[in-house]
């Protein structure tokens, strides 16, 4: 009986402490001063084509543990213009400034673009993430959001792979903020038992397939540059 009661109380406590709140910060949206500004140009197809009419939103997230509570605060919203330009302007509140608990709160910039069409390297419609934003700051973020294609990586001769042999492939793509070469990298690990994998990659721009072959303790690296069309599914064979 006592055990059942403890179990019930535990669940009740867990239920009561597991809550998520969401709020809209209109004072931030109409920032009166000391604003934080994230601005730039949103493009696709290797930064050649502006993305117009995409809604961008800044949210501040915080969570506490062990009580499973979280809070989302919408801070700013805008839509890219005909040239893909955007400016997100918002006011950071005191509890959103970096502190010793910074790892439990962060700002995210999300885009409304279709995630089946565009490649979000950071996942779920996420463009940018910050844990240390300050007031009176301007961040320039010219961002490439590639269209999506599929790359099927296959080992053409898995029977040649012994136990412990593998291929570590990295797909290097220009996605994200400019100024960093290949801002997006996706990895794959191929073995004799797992000789095929499918990866979402950037279309309409050059991508590099970097393959590191580990055979009996020795490594060989090869790079190959390819370009896929949006929506294309390409089978790419790697010979071990």
């Amino acid at each position: 009986m006592k055990t059942k009661l403890s179990f019930l109380l535990s669940w009740l406590l867990l239920f009561l402490s597991s809550c998520h709140t969401q709020s809209d910060d209109f004072i931030s949206k109409y920032c009166p001063g000391s604003c934080t500004v994230i601005k730039g140009k949103l493009t696709t197809d290797g930064r050649t084509k502006p993305l117009a009419g995409v809604t961008l939103e800044v949210n501040w997230y915080t969570y506490s543990s062990p009580a499973i509570t979280s809070n989302t605060r919408r801070k700013a919203i805008t839509t890219t213009d005909a040239n893909g330009n955007f400016e997100l302007r918002f006011l950071i509140q005191d509890d959103e400034l970096p502190n010793e608990y910074t790892n439990t709160s962060y700002f995210q910039v999300k885009a409304s673009a279709d995630k089946n069409t565009y490649l979000f390297c950071l996942g779920d419609n996420l463009l940018l993430e910050y844990t240390d934003l300050e007031r009176n700051t301007t961040i320039n973020a010219n961002y490439n959001l590639p269209r999506k294609a599929q790359l099927v990586l296959q080992v053409s001769n898995p029977q040649a792979m012994a136990n412990g042999d593998n291929i570590q492939s990295s797909i290097l793509m220009d996605a994200g903020v400019s100024g960093t070469s290949y801002g997006c990298s996706v990895g794959a690990y191929l073995t004799a038992g797992n000789a095929q994998t499918t990866i979402a990659v950037a279309a309409n721009e050059d991508i590099v397939i970097r393959s590191v072959k580990n055979k009996a303790g020795s490594q060989t690296t090869s790079n190959q540059t390819i370009r896929l069309a949006p929506g294309q599914v390409l089978q790419h064979q790697i010979t071990f």
């Binding site: 004072i27 949206k29 001063g33 000391s34 006011l91 005191d94």
Partner: protein
């Protein structure tokens, strides 16, 4: 509002005075007071909109004149004043540490409308359908929020726009005097000007639609 409507219904059913046919008189004036309840975009507090209206329920005062054309039809004019307070609590929580001071003035519309009535009389009661069209002189809600980092100042811009309405009503006649209730919508879509974050002036259309309900007293002559 509910109490007012119930009271009016009681008055309708309680009176036993034999009333004369309103058709005996060719003209009438009436004073109406009630509530205007914002609907659609006018009541929006959507973060995704550039300038959500945050309009709340407010008073609607109407002064009308009408003249009988024939037993079924009448025409007239209405002068109306509608005020809808801005939902300041939703915009800036009073407990927010950033808020040092906050104030607002309501949305306001002054209507001058031409009315057409289609009427059905049964005994001393009159049911009517009223269509209206005219001009509305609108004023945007003024909002001022003072914070330690500056002041949000949304000024009270003014704009004139086409306005229209559609109402139904029921009237109980007592010789020259009558009382009644009316409900319907009043709408318009003025264009207001707002500065954006860079100080550039932006024009935007603001639908201002309310569902109205009110009581009136009328005098026929």
């Amino acid at each position: 509002m509910k109490q007012l409507v119930l009271t009016a219904l009681l008055v309708f059913t309680g009176f036993t005075i034999a009333a004369q046919d309103v058709a005996n008189y060719s003209s009438g004036i009436r004073l109406q007071f009630g509530g205007a309840f914002p609907v659609g975009n006018f009541s929006s507090d959507d973060f995704e909109e550039d300038y959500p209206a945050f309009a709340m329920s407010g008073p609607l005062l109407q002064l009308s004149y009408n003249r009988t054309i024939n037993p079924r039809w009448a025409a007239g004019a209405t002068f109306a004043l509608r005020r809808n307070p801005f939902n300041l609590d939703k915009f800036a929580d009073p407990t927010d540490k950033l808020v040092l001071n906050r104030e607002s003035e309501p949305w306001q519309s002054v209507f001058t409308l031409a009315d057409v009535y289609y009427r059905m009389q049964t005994g001393d009661k009159l049911f009517y359908l009223k269509g209206s069209v005219g001009a509305a002189f609108n004023r945007r809600a003024k909002v001022t929020i003072a914070t330690p980092y500056g002041t949000i100042d949304h000024k009270a811009d003014r704009s004139t726009a086409l306005a229209y309405g559609l109402h139904v009503g029921l009237k109980q006649n007592f010789d020259r005097w009558s009382i009644g209730l009316e409900t319907g919508i009043l709408s318009g879509k003025p264009i207001f000007e707002m500065p954006d974050a860079q100080g550039n002036k932006i024009n935007y259309k603001q639908p201002m639609t309310t569902v109205n309900a009110g009581l009136f007293a009328a005098y026929a002559f």
